[in-house]
Amino acid sequence: MDIQMKKGLLDVCVLSTIKNSDSYGYEMLKNMKPYIEMSESTLYTILKRLELSGMLTVYTMEHGGRLRKYYHITKAGLGRIEDFQEEWREIMDIYRYVMREEETK
């Protein structure tokens, strides 16, 4: 898969795990696991990228006597998911068109 496309998809994937409620690294990995296997280093890089681009914010909270980082989606992040849904409809249209061409061969 094209690297830029994959990056974009993974970004949306991570954003959607915190769409409804804030979450922390390990929980995000677990939630995504049935759909996509992601290493810790990949997740870290994506979270950092999303933080820098203002798609999410990070805050620290005490949990069980230690500090844990939680990630919260911003309006820009929610907007990114909506854009993705729109883009994906277009991609699916193209896909269907391509597949029809394949089938007629």
Partner: protein, 199 residues
Amino acid sequence: MTKNVFIIYLKTKLSTMPEKEREERLSFYREMIDDRIEEGMTEEEAVASVGKIDDIVRDILAEQQSTGQEQRPRTKKRRKAWEIVLLVLGSPLWIVLLATAFVVVLSLFISLWSIVASLWAVTVALPVASIGSLGACLMSLFEGNFVFTFVMLGISAFCAGLFVFAFFGVRYVTKGAWFFTKKTMEGIVHSFYRKEDKQ
């Protein structure tokens, strides 16, 4: 492997990374391991499930490369002929300057450590003075000179008390001087390494 050993290994392998970024990554892994332990894994299992260190390091470097964050290896430039000529011709000047700088730095260290040494001398003298005045106190007690006994007892207690404060204060100063010396030496060594790289 325990969590601490894992983190130390990872830290060593990522030593070329800027410190802030490295610490952020390490705390991310710490949290990941802690969360697994909390879920019921043993420490060993939690560390193992995070993955092999070499694979992690490879992943991190690959991620960095794809985002263009990698540190470019320093390219070694060859010194041009005129630079060599200039270096040789200028040697009477730069050798003298280098020697002067060396002497200045050395004398700075000597004076700094002389202060530290004299502070320790005073600190060590305090308990000696305390014991001495205690001795004088006892002797004057036998002689029946009670005013002198009280004065000596007071001096002894004062010296002993001052010693406690002085000891901690001077220890702090020594640590500071050691830190300064270490950092300065590291800075000098580091600047020479960089010069070598540019050659």
